[in-house]
């Protein structure tokens, strides 16, 4: 049995880092030199996808897929997200356009968002800014008529990434209940 979770978000949001933080296997990454320094100053970026795994003794596994953040690779997003249990949208809130990126990615993965199978991880938020960032997210969600779970997190911290996964698990459990299995 394999369950798939996808990590989405703009370049530099921490997708590769988050997968590496919880994967049982060394993550498979397709990093290449970043030629688009206008989007992010990091040296390398994902060009196909990242892959990690959480495996259990009984052979079950959770596949973790990270999409490439650059929009020119958006053609691959529906392919990677097909059959996913849910999506984790990561955002770097130190970027000035993070709210725009939020709307863009929700729009791009609208079917996951509509079913509640998307959670948002907000990275690089200073303690004093949390109130403001919450307000922006709440306004965006109300405009989109979605109440997506969002969490302040550090993609390097496995516990933070696990909290995002747990939100997806609870949503999936609710699906079982709502559909009467």
């Amino acid at each position: 049995m394999a369950i798939k979770v996808i990590f989405v978000g703009p370049m530099g949001a921490g997708k590769t880092t988050a997968i590496a933080a919880i994967s049982d296997i060394p993550p498979v990454a397709t990093e290449a030199r970043n030629h688009d320094k206008t989007m992010h100053v990091k040296a390398t970026t994902t060009v196909a996808m990242d892959y990690g795994e959480l495996s259990l003794d009984d052979g079950n596994k959770l596949s973790l897929y990270g999409i490439p953040g650059q929009r020119q690779f958006s053609f691959i997003w529906p392919i990677v997200s097909k059959g996913a249990l849910g999506g984790i949208l990561l955002l770097d809130c130190s970027m000035s356009d993070w709210a725009e990126q939020f709307k863009f990615y929700i729009d791009s993965f609208r079917s996951l968002a509509n079913s509640g199978a998307m959670v948002v991880g907000l990275n690089r938020v200073e303690e004093d800014d949390k109130e403001t960032v919450s307000g922006v997210i709440q306004d965006c969600c109300e405009n989109l008529e979605l109440a997506l779970p969002y969490f302040f997190m550090d993609p390097r911290d496995p516990q933070d990434v696990n909290l995002l996964l747990e939100a997806l698990v609870i949503n999936a459990e609710l699906d079982h209940i709502l559909q009467g299995e």
Binding site: L56, I170, E173, G180
Partner: protein, 299 residues
Amino acid sequence: MYSIKSYGFGPQESDVIKKQVRLISSRTDLPWVYEGEGLDGNIVLAKQHVDVLPGAKLVIVGTVSPADAKACAAVLEYPIRIMKFLELLEKFAPKSALSTAQAVAKILEDRNAPDLVLLCNQVLVCFKNGNSKVYIEKGGKKDIIEAVSKTSASAITPKNKIPVKDTFSWSSCISSKTLLWSLARREIGYAKSNWSTDKPYKLASWPQVNEWEPNPQIFKLATLYSRQSVTVSEAAKACQLEEDQVKSFLHACATSGISVKASEVHETALKGVRELQNKQSLNWLRKKINSYFGLVNGN
């Protein structure tokens, strides 16, 4: 202002009533004033039965027949004793429509308002709108919640402001959202009477429950109410909680600034609601990710 009027009293008697009200009003939560003769006050004092205007409460002063006693709101002896008069005003004071948590939310809603220091359960508490934090004179975070929760809603008002020097040092602080959440979650009685069991509700945005109250059932409630309209009774079944707890959750969300929308459209289709912990299919995953809430095997 809450008005007291009299009917059928002479000028000297009216003057006595006026002085008594002035004295009493300094001891009541509400600002009562005497407004002379008339039948349209919040309270009308009369020597015998009289038809007061709608909304006014008739208080007969003096001896009354049993029939008149039934027709009026209360009876006071003549001459009016000041302590009895005080008791009467407290009894007839319109109940505050706000709970303590809502009163705190009200004073914190304007981020540009000046800092407000109040005496809450014998300790000073400072509500700082600028940084959305609440400070206490002595003690920790729990003491802040304890002190404010023991303060009545009517006492949480800028009118009761206590002046302190800028150099005053505060012992500890709590975020205003955490305080509002904690206060509202304690107000089960208020929530019980203000939220419907059968009306579907939906949250317009996600409450930060992982920070305000890390609890698996509350997390499930937040997830459920965030995705669709659901009634209190259905949510209680789905999340294995008492209905009062669900109502208190909704009250806490609303108090903490999360818009809770009542819906006429019943979206939910909770076919055969069963306990979440019986759903074993995802338990292996939960076990693997070492649940944030310490949930193992769905427990």
